[in-house]
């Protein structure tokens, strides 16, 4: 009884990095680096002050948004972008299914696995803009370059997530289907596909959403679509038309995002 009352064992949450010298070196190092980095960024406050009214002027140039004078170009751009988005998503997913299956370590033989993983690695290591610049050089300006860019990017995204989902599947369910004497394709269809399908439908819709947003960006570097229209209007200093385009993009992104979110909830 007396012992219980007297003995207070002290407890403190153990630090994430156990070695004290390493912990303090990292903390001090980070602080020094941050202050040096801020020191080398020269901000000329006088120029910032001067620039403010010009910024306001720039922003007011966007108002009011002008939907009418470039309406036909806008409609064409939107149609192109939507075509690019849907086609790239469908083709990209169709191509990524075999790649993704091949990149799942638990079902693919080692050479196939390495081959498919390297396709995914190449596809994922380049940002869409860089791919778009490359494909625009390859195929010339226009929506086809954008379509190829987005398809290729979709393979990396969708294939990797599919492979990971297959690797996480419940082995016993697949094993039970194998034990019935099913062929390999039947085994995929009955033992694997049902396990990954709901998530893959959700990710497909999510990718559609991403592809729409990316297609606007890809257009700016020559990939066609609404991005190209937007870029042209900036180049011509038609900021009011640009504002109209931006508003339309925002509206479509919100519509796509809302509907894909709704569909994904419905699927799951």
């Amino acid at each position: 009884m007396r012992n219980l009352a007297v003995e207070h064992r002290r407890w403190k949450k153990p630090p994430a990095i156990k070695r004290a010298w390493l912990r303090w070196t990292l903390i001090v190092g980070a602080a020094v680096y941050l202050s040096l980095a801020l020191g080398t960024t020269h901000v000329n406050w006088a120029r910032v002050w001067e620039g403010l009214p010009r910024g306001i002027q720039f922003i007011t140039a966007f108002l009011p948004p002008d939907f009418t004078s470039r309406w036909t170009e806008i409609v064409e751009g939107i149609a192109e972008t939507l075509w690019m988005t849907v086609a790239a998503t469908v083709v990209g997913i169709a191509l990524s299914v075999p790649v993704g299956i091949g990149a799942a370590r638990n079902i693919a033989p080692l050479p196939v696995y390495y081959f498919c993983r390297s396709i995914l690695a190449v596809s994922r290591s380049f940002q869409e803009i860089i791919l778009a610049i490359f494909f625009v050089k390859l195929f010339g300006f226009g929506p086809f370059a954008g379509f190829v860019t987005l398809s290729f990017a979709t393979i990396g995204f969708y294939g990797k997530l599919l492979a990971e989902d297959i690797e996480d599947m419940d082995v016993s369910q697949a094993e039970a289907v194998r034990a019935t004497g099913a062929g390999w394709l039947q085994w995929l269809n009955y033992g694997v596909q049902p396990q990954v399908m709901p998530r893959m439908i959700g990710l497909g819709l999510y990718r559609l959403d991403i592809n729409f947003r990316e297609s606007a960006v890809v257009g700016i570097v020559g990939g066609g679509g609404i991005g190209a229209t937007l870029n042209t209007s900036f180049d011509r200093y038609e900021f009011d038309s640009a504002a109209a385009i931006i508003l339309i993009i925002i509206a479509i992104v919100m519509a796509v995002e809302y509907s894909s979110g709704y569909l994904r909830r419905w699927v799951q």
């Binding site: 016993s172 039970a176 034990a179 019935t180 004497g181 099913a182 039947q186 396990q195």
Partner: protein, 280 residues
């Protein structure tokens, strides 16, 4: 009928799971394989349908050698062996009917199975089996909506629709409550009796093994230490299989419980069937 000779399995980790096992299972015999975890029970039955590759030994089912079959022949061989799994191993997002019909995959082509266009005879048989286990009204439910006992009944249907020559049963009651465990074991035994089907049942529960099997094989560290009828399973034998423990009560209890045969009658009134299905 099934003849296992010198079956040895060494896993890649170096563990010797089975040390030259010999078992003969005659036609229509329900055999229980008991033993502590890690004794190699699962490995034995997984070697028989080659979900696990044996390291050495031969396994013949009705004069067909199983070890060394090419992949096409192995698939045809697997059609002849139904397997019932621990934790049911139903494909959870497929319907009950699809799960049962997946037992016919070895007999139909890919496109046929992909379109879910199974021959009418398979569908008839599936409904007949589901009715037999009291689940025919649940055919279009998703497998993950079912209770444990119901899922295992679907698992039994999936194995039986293969029209197998041998039933491999891996811990069928591991995640079921005691009452459901007995119902499932009784069902397996009755179905084996109806079809003159031989079965190898891996089971932890010594009492259930004694109640429902004609023959018991005790496995310990990859070796057979007992092979005989259930009533010769003495405390001394159990000590040999599992180690020192008070076994007297386990054995006596099994005798007391062996009697009641009330649960699954061959022709079930509808209330009985609903109860089986877990509705009441």
């Amino acid at each position: 009928m099934l003849r296992i000779k010198g079956l040895t399995k060494r896993y890649r980790t170096g563990d010797l799971a089975l040390k030259s096992i010999d078992i003969d299972v005659p036609d229509g015999q329900v055999m229980a394989l008991i033993g502590p975890s890690g004794a190699g029970k699962s490995t034995v039955i997984r070697c028989i349908n080659r979900l696990v590759e044996p390291t050495a030994g031969t396994i013949t089912l009705n004069d067909t050698e199983i070890v060394g079959l090419s992949s096409g022949n192995l698939r045809r061989m697997r059609r002849r062996m139904g397997m019932i799994f621990q934790e049911y191993a139903l494909v959870e997002r497929l319907s009950v009917m699809e799960n049962v019909l997946s037992g016919r995959l070895g007999y139909v082509g890919f496109w046929q199975s992909w379109a879910r266009k199974f021959p009418q005879s398979d569908i008839d048989e599936a409904f007949r089996l589901l009715a037999r286990v009291g689940l025919d009204h649940m055919a279009d439910k998703r497998a993950d909506e079912l209770s444990g006992g119901q899922r295992q009944r679907v698992g039994i249907c999936r194995a039986l629709i293969q029209n197998p020559e041998l039933l491999l049963v891996d811990e069928p009651t591991a995640s079921l409550d005691p009452k459901t465990s007995r119902q499932i074991m009784r069902l397996i035994k009755e179905l084996c009796g109806e079809r003159k089907l031989a079965a190898i049942i891996n089971i932890h529960d010594v009492m259930l093994a004694q109640m429902f099997a004609e023959r018991i094989v005790g496995l310990k560290l990859g070796e057979i230490v007992y092979d005989g009828p259930p009533d010769k399973l003495t405390p001394a034998v159990l000590t040999q299989i599992y180690g020192e423990e008070d076994w007297a009560s386990t054995i006596r209890k099994a005798d007391d419980d062996a009697e009641p045969v009330d649960d699954i009658a061959p022709v079930m009134p509808s209330i009985e069937r609903d109860r089986l299905a877990g509705l009441t």
